[in-house]
């Protein structure tokens, strides 16, 4: 399981591994939003929490369709299935590697994104916290979607349609916490709900994705 995790990280960090795709998309989308809305700092600050979170969802989605597809195409998935690691463990390892190369870079860049969208300083901390707590769920749910759409040619669109609705709880609680922090409201409840969503996904997604992979084997 650990070996698979290390291999996926290695692959992501190599040239063409797609580590920078999600992050560059996120940076550009945030900049575009700032340009599009214009110089009204108050309006930008109001849009910022939702905007940043939506872009984070979309950025995560970018690299998801290759999560199992790449291994299926070159035969590595067969070897993973035949390895002593349970398929559920393999899914968890791949989702963890995906988060480290998609969700984590976004989280680290979030303070800069907040400044670009004139988010008030007291909201920067909560923004980073919500992304750190919430983005693992995106990789986990995404793994289920990627497993379900395995073998579909150009499955990217189908994957988005399947996965994005399931991202709604994370989006609602994540953006809500950041918005509340901007006006000085309590954010603990939202953070707890966000954490609960991630933990729920952690418990369920590996089983769902492994079951989908077994069905999709061909």
């Amino acid at each position: 399981m650990y070996a698979l995790f290390v291999r996926d990280l290695q692959l992501a960090l190599r040239l063409g591994g797609g580590l920078w795709n999600g992050l560059s998309f996120f940076v550009i989308a945030v900049a575009l939003l700032a340009f599009g809305v214009g110089p009204d700092a108050a309006l930008l600050a109001q849009i910022a929490p939702g905007g940043i979170w939506v872009f984070a969802l979309l950025a995560c989605l970018l690299s998801l369709d290759r999560l199992f597809q790449a291994d299926a195409e070159d035969g590595a998935l067969d070897l993973i299935v035949l390895s002593p690691t349970p398929l559920e463990g393999a899914v968890l390892a791949k989702a963890a590697a995906h988060w480290l190369t998609s969700g984590l870079p976004l989280t680290l860049f979030a303070p800069a994104a907040g400044v670009m969208l004139s988010l008030p300083p007291q909201s920067i901390g909560p923004l980073v916290a919500t992304l750190a707590i919430g983005t693992p769920a995106l990789s986990l749910i995404g793994a289920v979607g990627a497993a379900l759409t395995l073998g579909v040619r150009r499955g990217g669109l189908l994957l988005s349609v399947l996965v994005l609705p399931l991202y709604v709880p994370s989006l609602i609680f994540g953006a809500l916490a950041v918005r509340s922090s901007a006006v000085g409201l309590e954010i603990q409840a939202s953070l707890l709900m966000l954490g609960a969503t991630t933990l729920g996904c952690l418990a369920l997604a590996p089983f769902a994705a492994a079951a989908a992979l077994r069905i999709n084997q061909s």
């Binding site: 291999r7 190599r14 040239l15 061909s218």
Partner: protein, 230 residues
Amino acid sequence: MDLVVQDLACVRGGRRVFAETSFTLHRGEFTVLVGPNGSGKSTLLRAIAGLVPIERGDVRFGDASLRDDRETLQEQIAYVGHLDGVKPALTVRENLRSWARISGAAAGAELERALDETLNRFHLSALEDAPAAQCSAGQKRRLGLSRLVLHPRPLWLLDEPTVALDTAANEALGALIDAHRKTGGVVIAATHAPLSVAPDRELSMNAFAPVGAEEADPFLEDAGDEEVWA
């Protein structure tokens, strides 16, 4: 351990590929699976490995059964298919190391020694630090076959193992198969090209061709449509 295949049947894309497939391969036997293109050789090998859903029947190897404890069965199988599972972005050595680690080998000096030995045996030492993207088809195939040695498993399922191999590598593969059967392993190879080692027996896919394949029943047709969509 013997490999027992009982009444195995498999449906792909609404078509029954093979049916009533039963045979027993004894330990130490090397079997060649023959049949024309599209006769289901690859599907049969993948079905034995539990890599495609089976419609009916069972596969047993020792105490493990495909129906009851698939994972135990799969842990005894080394499968080399059309695809070698080679990651172009990793070097040859990294590819081999990651397979060994995923298959459960512990990292360390011992593994590195085993890697050296295996790379040497398959004449890949000169390439070990080159990205696998630079490998030719034959070199990739050798890299795929090297897994057989690196983490030994008793049951080998080889799907067209000689494709892209040169004469020397073909000889080496023959020697490998021979050594494996002498230690009590079971080898099945689906192949058109003759191997450099004589098989103990030959199985023909014609014996497993489904009866009345053209008149598949409506339920299967339905299942087929869904599969095409998926």
